[in-house]
Amino acid sequence: MSTETVVDTSEPDVQSSIVNDFSIQIATINGSGSQSSNSVLMRAIFQMGVPVSGKNLFPSNIQGLPTWFTIRASKHSYVARNRDIDMLIAMNPQTAREDVQSLNPGATVVYEQSLGLDNVRDDLIFYPVPFGELAKDVIHEPRLRKLLANMIYVGVVGHLLSIEREEIQHAISKQFKAKAKAVELNVKAIDVGFEYAKENLKKADALRIERMDETAGKILIDGNAAGALGAMFAGVTVVTWYPITPSSSLVESLIQYMKEHRIDKETGKATFAVVQAEDELAAIGMVLGAAWAGARSLTSTSGPGISLMSEFVGLGYFAEIPAVIWDIQRVGPSTGLPTRTAQGDILSTYLLSHGDTKHILLFPSSAQECFEFGGTSFDLAERFQTPVFVMSDLDLGMNIWMSDPFAYPEQPIDRGKVLDADQLEKVSDWGRYKDVDGDGIPYRTLPGTKHARAAYFTRGSGHNAEAEYTERPDDYVKLIDRLQRKFDTARKHVPAPVIDIEDGAEIGIIAYGSTHWAIVESRDQLRNENDLMASYMRLRALPFNDALEAFVDQYERVYVVEQNHDAQVMQLIKLELAHRPELLKKLHSILNYDGHPIDARSVTEKLLARESERPSA
């Protein structure tokens, strides 16, 4: 096969250069080591001061299936998924043709030459590269060769996009840290790519990376690692888990960080315990046992695990035991698409367990908020003595996000209404479930408290204010009413929505969690392209507080954007506002439930379509 088609006929005008504002998709096979190459490429761009984001679309197996990694460079700091791919690196024979077919006209394709893709379409810019052959020259070991072919593409793309070679080398050093041999080999591969491109490819596309200063001081991190850090700095002591994608990396990061930062200097002993449980029922049972005994304890899981925790969570709710549960949501129902993202567990988690139950849910939407809620979740769980769920998702949890560095938490942690022996001594009529303060929150003591009146009996069956067993109707009603009071108190204590008002806006947008980033961008699109202003309320927790009603009240039409089929939070909003039926008419759903992270363009299109359907429009 020749390389004659290196240069497409359409010579781009240099003036029309697209700088720092495009997406690169790398299509490979998983288990082929492309992850490192992708990280290196992404980090190199980041190091050039250009805002980046990375989305990994990987299959639910370990090796041999198609996987796509998208790097978005955005001078505007947009980090949501971009539906449109500007440059495709086609390394995977299984999907190459379909991948090429799905591109917009004018897009660029760098591909393994032997795939012969240049005849698939004639409206694209093609750069064939004999990656396999080139890799052979660098290394003889066949397994390593595959890895290196992937690194070579970074060199090629580096050249095409004018990414500084030093930044790539620097990124390689970061990636392979202490492993000098690996650094050397990979740098060599990069060089091969650079050299090959320089000599054989003629720049025909408009894409360029130029140095900016938008990433100084920023970090790159996935939400799971951020959540782990949040928990560590909030003093988590007992961690239990059962592996499940996309949640495992939260605890795995935590283990790494704790090993480094939570070993007592003097004794070499751990100020924490991490247990890989036999399943999720055991994981939540351990969390409840530990929290009952006073530890800050957490577990992390995904949908199937949440379902399995259902009975135990009801116990936590009813017996009033703190627990922090991270749900890194993936596509359900059932096993669903285990490596795709969704916000589909909201309703069932909010109502998790039989009987009259409802729970506090937090919706982090950034790595920074994962860090922050890593602590907030404990403060709330201990203050309200109840399970608290942090509803992250695969997109937020496993993808790499650019973020401001996390601020060291200066405030002390809130351990809630716990009486130690001394405090108990001062309280003459303590009862475990007495509502002393009128906020529905009782005082508790911890097992091991050395005081004659400290002990009480915890149970999931009927109990009175003194924690005694009872089946009396009046006791039960009192208990349930107090739990409601406590839940109402929580409204004022959970993170309030973040509201961004556009003066003169007629419409409002409500979203939460990882959907946030598509909204940021979509609002700009609406403003810049359609002169449409939209105020925005980002929900950060359930239960809602009064801001919701006030917000909806202010706008003619309110779009609730979420990543599930059933419009789950919309349903809760409707219930919340049902006492103001006139508000309900304003509400419209924008949904994305195909497993891909939601993108701004789709939101904008759906919103505009809806707007134009209005009689007045």
Binding site: D264, A295, T445, A454, A455
Partner: protein
């Protein structure tokens, strides 16, 4: 000879902590009159008293069932946690992790442990969690009115005439096989042995598992049952005579060589085992498993200390945890310094 069971304490008598036996009592039982479980509760009270356990250090844990209700009926001065059905092991694990100073005493039923709870039981054993784990084994689900549980013997009969046609799970067998380090079987109708084995369990560091046959007088105490008082009384055969000398007493009498074995427990207490018929070494895992196999096949009802291993590390040791309870470590020990965060942030740049 040292005696660990002082003559039944007259009301004013106190133990080494100055506590009366009454201080170890709980709420009045709501079980059926004569239930084996109540008898075990009484032995617990006695054992705690005689051993001199500090009530505030005990965490009482249970699942759901008549048996699982019993922690309310002893040690009112201890925190208790009546969890959900079959899941006491995980709750116990969590509490011990949170506070390693707690003396965890778990009570479960045969339904609670051998049916719904067998998974958590197996994994608790594997971890050698420090806990005294008691199954009050009556072969039926008492609280739901007498259905067979998975420890019902093959061929035993319900009152309704229904015959159990599935083999019994031998919980002691599982316990030894899977990693428990103190395994005993006893009989609610043999209070003296129960008390002694309990005290031994208190002195042990690791999973102390006690399978106590505890007749359900309402649903499984009839002819045809192999978990009735009558059956137990007629069939109980001691593996050895067990005696206990707590760490705070001297072993002041010589035991005859060859006729007794003396196992020193974690806290310096001793379990003294006096040979009856067989030569039995409970420190040998293989011997223990063979005894269980043997008696299982012959449907013998052997009671006593089946297995003890005082060396195996517990979960707490494996986790290399600090000596203090994690639950109450001060903030400066659980929140790394600002420098740590800065360092981490730097690495992510």
């Amino acid at each position: 000879m040292a005696t660990t069971a002082p003559p039944t304490a007259p009301s004013k008598k106190v133990n080494r902590l100055g506590l009366t036996q009454a201080s170890y009592k709980g709420k009045p039982s709501t079980l059926c009159k004569g239930c084996g479980h109540d008898s075990i509760s009484s032995q617990l009270v006695k054992a705690f008293y005689e051993y001199g356990v500090e009530p505030y250090r005990v965490a009482k844990l249970s699942g759901i069932g008549c048996s699982s209700k019993t922690p309310a009926y002893w040690l009112s001065q201890s925190h208790g946690f009546n969890a959900v059905h079959g899941r006491m092991p995980s709750v116990a694990t969590g509490s011990v992790l949170a506070n390693r100073d707690l003396i965890a005493v778990g009570v479960s039923g045969d339904g609670d442990t051998a049916s719904i709870g067998i998974g958590q039981f197996v994994h608790l054993l594997r971890r050698n969690l420090p806990i005294v784990y008691i199954v009050e084994n009556n072969g039926v689900y008492g609280l739901t009115k007498g259905q067979f549980s998975a420890t019902a013997d093959l061929g035993s009969k319900l009152k309704t005439g229904v015959v159990n046609d599935l083999p019994a799970i031998d919980l002691c067998g599982l316990a030894v096989e899977l990693g428990a380090t103190y395994v005993a079987r006893s009989f609610a109708g043999d209070p003296k042995q129960v008390v002694t084995l309990l005290k031994g369990a208190f002195g042990h560091n690791g999973t102390a598992f006690l399978d106590i046959i505890s007749p359900c007088v309402t649903f499984n105490n009839h002819a045809g049952s192999t978990k009735s008082y009558t059956w137990g009384k007629e069939n109980e055969e001691l593996i050895q005579e067990v005696d206990f000398v707590p760490f705070f007493e001297d072993i002041d009498i010589e035991y005859e060589e060859g006729e007794t074995a003396n196992v020193e427990l974690h806290d310096g207490s001793h379990i003294i085992l006096k040979k009856i018929k067989r030569d039995y070494d409970p420190t040998d895992r293989r011997t223990a498993l063979e005894l269980l196999l043997d008696s299982g096949e012959k449907q013998q009802f052997l009671t006593g200390l089946i297995y003890v291993d005082t060396k195996k590390p517990t979960l707490i040791e494996l986790l290399n945890m600090v000596d203090e309870p994690l639950a109450t470590l001060p903030l400066d020990r659980i929140r790394p310094p600002q420098s740590a965060l800065l360092e981490i942030m730097e690495a992510l740049r």
